[in-house]
């Protein structure tokens, strides 16, 4: 009852904000509204008890994607100049599609219905077997890292591929320096160093963000969190430092070659855990053979692959941010 009230409230706001994002022509407004959008979404995830997803949405949606959107906006025009298209055909198409989806929800089980198919399939088995086979309190981590380790490996490679795609678009381009002398520009606009309060507060918080990221990384077995969230948090710390001190100093702190290597190293670590478990007589990503005790092997495997996930995610975020901040000088 309570969940439904809160969710309805939040989802109504979500729809209103989404429509407003589509309607606005000022792209800066759209970026700000999309920040609100992802905060609403994260609150809704939390109301629905998906704490791990809410944490990811908070860090990536509300934190890093706003920064990246603004980085992209600095390279383009401020106003949306959509080509004039007829509004009727898209409207009819999306209304029809929406109607079909709403019609389909009549057949769907109610929210939290224990007899729903999704709760009858493998979920009871996961809940029953996690204490015995893997013995971590957070079942989400057990499912994500061990039972569904293949899926997570796939996700890591999706992130890896996305990073290569973004770098193919943004990287390796000499910044244009025709209009402003570069040194002058950097001094004036690349950082917030002459704003005393942001500078002091920002630099003070960087170590705490990184520390919290490490906590989320290693506490993921017990509470909400894991490699994805931790990688994004550590990257957020580095991004905050680069915003305050300027992109040049940010690239000195975490050089571009290092963040690129991190991207590959994380995916490599994950895969090599799978290969190691094969060499030790198990199946691919079957961590039970990694130690004498199967449960201990599971713990070890989860720890290492979560570290791999964290490395890849942090590397991807930092690499993309560096690419934007390098392009921003023009």
């Amino acid at each position: 009852m309570m969940t439904i009230v809160f969710s309805l409230f939040l989802l109504t706001m979500l729809v209103i904000v989404a429509v407003a994002i589509l309607r606005t022509e000022n792209l800066f407004t759209a970026v700000m509204l999309s920040g609100i959008f992802s905060l609403i979404m994260a609150a809704n995830f939390f109301v629905l008890d998906a704490a791990d997803v809410a944490l990811t949405e908070a860090v990536i949606g509300a934190g890093i994607s706003t920064v990246l959107f603004l980085g992209a906006l600095a390279l383009t025009a401020e106003y949306d100049r959509s080509p004039p298209v007829g509004t009727w055909v898209p409207l009819l198409t999306s209304s029809a599609l929406g109607g079909v989806i709403i019609f389909a929800t009549f057949q769907a089980p109610r929210l939290g219905d224990p007899s729903a198919i999704v709760h009858q399939h493998v979920a009871p088995w996961y809940l029953e077997k996690t204490p015995e086979l893997i013995d971590v309190p957070n079942v989400v981590t057990a499912v994500l890292a061990s039972f569904r380790g293949y899926d997570t490996l796939g996700e890591v490679f999706v992130v890896f591929t996305a990073c290569i795609g973004v770098m193919a678009l943004l990287g390796r381009v000499r910044p244009r320096r025709d209009s402003i002398k570069e040194g002058e520009f950097k001094k004036a606009t690349d950082n917030l160093r002459h704003h005393l309060i942001p500078r002091v507060v920002g630099k003070m918080l960087v170590p705490f963000i990184v520390l919290f990221g490490l906590y989320v990384q290693f506490h993921g077995d017990f509470g909400p969190g894991g490699g994805f969230q931790a990688g994004a948090l550590v990257a957020a710390g580095v991004i905050l430092y680069s915003l305050v001190e300027g992109g040049v100093r940010g690239r000195e702190l975490v050089p571009e070659w290092f963040s690129s290597v991190l991207v590959a190293l994380g995916a490599f670590t994950y895969t090599s855990v799978g290969v190691a478990s094969m060499l030790m007589g198990g199946r691919f990503l079957d961590y039970s053979v990694l130690a004498h005790d199967p449960v201990h092997g599971q713990h070890l495997g989860i720890l290492v692959i979560e570290a791999g996930v964290g490395m890849t995610v942090a590397g991807v975020m930092i690499t993309i941010f560096h690419a934007f901040s390098r392009r921003g000088i023009r």
Binding site: F6, G63, A74, F185, A188, F212
Partner: protein, 98 residues
Amino acid sequence: MEWIYFVTCIAILITMVLAVVRGLAGPTIFDRVLAVNMFGTKTVLFIAVISFLTGRPDFLDLALAYALINFIGVFAVLLFFQSREVRRAAEAEREAGK
């Protein structure tokens, strides 16, 4: 004691609505920046209260993450406007020099 958490949640949700209204209405971009910032703060509070309402105060971790992350976006906004000002000034100067 449960109901007081519930009432607080409702109150925070109403404040969120006010922030969304300000974000949608504008009129200046600074109103929208403030709306986003305020909405982030309300999300921190909402999650904190909900985690007590559902009896799992360990989920305060999440509220902590939100509080730490929230202002990075504001810093980016600050930097964006600062570099835009300088770029515009430089472009105007170049136009005048021609």
